[in-house]
Amino acid sequence: MSNSDSDDDEFESADEGDESTDESCNEEECTSTGNISAVQTGLSNVKEEISKEADEEKPIAAPKLIGIVDTPNNSDIPLCLSEEFPHNKELQDVKATSVEDQIVLTHEIPQSGSTLDKVHLGDAQAHQEDKKNETTELQENVPTNFDTDSLPKAVVETIPSTEEICEDVQVPSQIVNKTSTTRNISNRGKVRSKPTLGAKKLGAVKLSQPPESPNPALSKTDSKEIYKEAITSSAQQASTSSNPNPSDDGWGWFAPPKSLMSSVASLTNQILSTVENGLNIPEPEDLAKEDMLFADKKCPEVEEQVPKQPAQEEKTAGFTQLSLFGGVSNITKFVENTGSSLFSTGLDTLELLGKKTIDVLQQSDPGLKRTKAVLANPLHGSQDRPCLSQILREAKEISEVASTDSTSATGASESVTPKFSALFELHNGIVHLEALEMLSQQCQNRVAPQIRRLPSQRKAIVDEIAVLCSRTDDTEDNDCANSDMLDLQALEQNLSSCFDRISLELSLKKLMNAFRDGMSDSVEDSSSLEVYRRALDSLALVTSLVVELFHKGAELILMASKPSNPAVGARLEAETFQSVTNVLAAEISKLGSHHANKIIWVKDADHTNYSTDIYYEASNCRSYLENALKLMIPILQSRVF
């Protein structure tokens, strides 16, 4: 974790504060026990989930499994898919990929220990009793519905040995090898996982390898492969189901998406080239292609088909796969849970992870030529091939040195690419956020011990405030989307009426001026870099002022006299701040679009890259606002008492 921890700066601690807030609200009774109780509830939640899913999904999962195990030639699922989707072949690819990755996943989850037994033990220890219950449930459920013989024995056994699990894993691998395309894909997996083999050998292995042997290769998958997978798959964006996570480097398998969001927020000083615009980013299939070129030139269709996968199909395939596993044994149930929780963390997490990786790599290696060469070239000598984590670390060090060097060399020169976070700091955004955090922390310390003594009605309000402030509504964008132009007058009226409602005297002058300046068109003959710099500056200024507004609002709320009806008043305040956040986030994104459009008119080669960055930063501003809103929670809650 050291990697991400040290860099998260202010927001890490901010987030921690938030989490403790949430915990204290969700389980008022246990606040004093703090983390332990949180973990316990977490565990019990997991338990519930497991048993729930066991109940719900067994009947669905099992029939598919029977179909596959009993009649391997009966292309039950492909048929069904071909009815649903037009591109049958593509779908099989998708499926195969996810199968492949899923297998990798099965093996990679127990990073702490290398064998599946360990997971199982850990799992068993954690949910010892629950496991027993579940198993009995399984034994009861399954036979009543289906023919017991057709099920693998693993279902009946509580703790299957590693070999048995390997057998389980083979079931999907047979599906993988049904078509030639899928075989190619699974072989691609082998190629990757065995970088030691020369090109010729690989070809041979490819042709001769029997279909049921991916296991040895898979079990040998090491972190290198996983990292590579991370690049490829997250660049693909859509491939949620294949979530190879570099957990051994502590990038956080189970990191909640928020903390990732905020870590990315603190990352904004770098210019993130998004995957969509594709500039300088190696296409996922490029990496694959280079492997394939060396390995075997006979399978070009794979690379062409992979990128076409639509997200929806990918998801469907992934779920099918998961259900297959779900029928097999408890351990796969565990995997399934992990898998579905990964789904829920969603595309964003993966996308950001990928962006981050690419970004760090790119800093020292524009175009990623060197990285690509190092990663993809089997002739490079596989023994001393560096793993991606090492490359990332080196890239970071180099870029740090380079950036400090260039800054000190050029001083305050204009040629330095502007960074959002630096501008945000310059406009005192960070320090307002820090001050707000101090207030929030103090309120939290004061409020937390009192919550348990509250009557349940007020306790509900406290919870409601926390919920209101931790959830902002992206859809509000759509309401305003029909008017793409910023209507400053309407905005000002809207905001001031909001604050009047909760009798807060907040001056909107500075904020409105900042918006006005940002919207004023003055596209003289300036370079795209200059326009870009001004766009970032305008976004940073507006965001800083909004954070300042929140900070001032918090101060005034803390000083204000008690409302006549504390519960109603506090909820109204929370609602107001939530809607103000939504409104302002929408306006900031409009401001971002305005700048992004402006930059397109500048005749300069870089504009695509810059305008994408502006869109990215504008959306990133939202997370700053959301952070500020979350810090408001204890402050608003303190009003209930």
Binding site: N3, S4, S6, D7, D8, D9, S263, V264, S266, L267, N269, Q270, K356, D359, V360, Q363, K396, S399, E400, V401, S403, T404, D405, T407, S408, G411, A412, S413, E414, V416, P418, K419, S421, A422, L423, E425, L426, N428, V431, H432, E434, A435, M438, L439, Q442, D537, H551, K552, E555, L556, L558, M559
Partner: protein
């Protein structure tokens, strides 16, 4: 407007009765001009300026301008923690503001504990000498007794404004050099700035370095 390079950031808090001229002092120090009209501060405002100490080290002073009004007292208390320097400000034309200085000082000390901050006594509105209610000698005695430096300033003429902040910055820097203050997590009084290549701080960099990427 690229982020200027600095080696350290010191967080300094400015306290004192309302209308003694805290914000004006800061505005002069950061903008170099006197603001004729000044709205009362709400809660806390922020200013920042770079300062070069004797050995050429560049210091960013992050200045927390607190509201002097009584009604904000409970809020401003929250901000003392994490400060490494304190400007105790009074109005030389207002006896009451000087008499309140010990109150401010004790409040600051108790909230900054367990850390020890650098204090300085600053008399404002030196340009209004003829309306003086607090003599220099009396203020100097108080400062002496409490072992802190003392200056009288005018945000209108700019007299001694620079001096007041330079004294605080230098003293904090000296203490950093002596190892009395260290950069560590959970305390924002002193932070390391953006690194300059080839410089050795004599401090633990792993904790201090604020990197620009993740």
């Amino acid at each position: 407007m690229v982020e200027p390079i600095f080696d350290y950031q010191f967080r300094i808090i400015i306290i004192g009765n309302s209308t003694v001229g805290k914000s004006s002092l800061l505005k002069y120090f950061t903008d170099g001009r006197f603001a004729e009209v000044s709205d009362p501060t709400v809660g806390v405002d922020f200013f920042a300026r770079l300062l070069q100490v004797e050995d050429g080290t560049r210091i960013k002073l992050q200045l927390w301008d607190t509201a002097g009004q009584e009604r904000f007292r409970s809020i401003t208390k929250s901000y003392f923690r994490n400060s490494v320097g304190v400007l105790l400000v009074y109005d030389i034309c207002c006896r009451k503001s000087f008499e309140n200085v010990p109150v401010w000082m004790n409040e600051a000390k108790s909230h900054i504990e367990p850390h020890r901050a650098v204090f300085i006594l600053v008399g404002c509105k030196l340009d209004l000498k003829d309306q003086r209610e607090v003599s220099s000698e009396e203020a100097a005695r108080f400062a002496n007794f409490n072992e802190m430096p003392f200056v009288e300033t005018s945000a209108k003429t700019g007299e001694n404004v620079e001096e007041a902040f330079r004294i605080v910055g230098q003293e904090i820097y000296n203490r950093v050099q002596l190892g009395e203050y260290s950069i560590h997590d959970g305390w924002d009084g002193v932070k390391a700035g953006y690194r300059r290549a080839g410089r050795d701080y004599g401090l633990v960099e792993a904790e201090a370095a604020r990197t620009t990427c993740c």
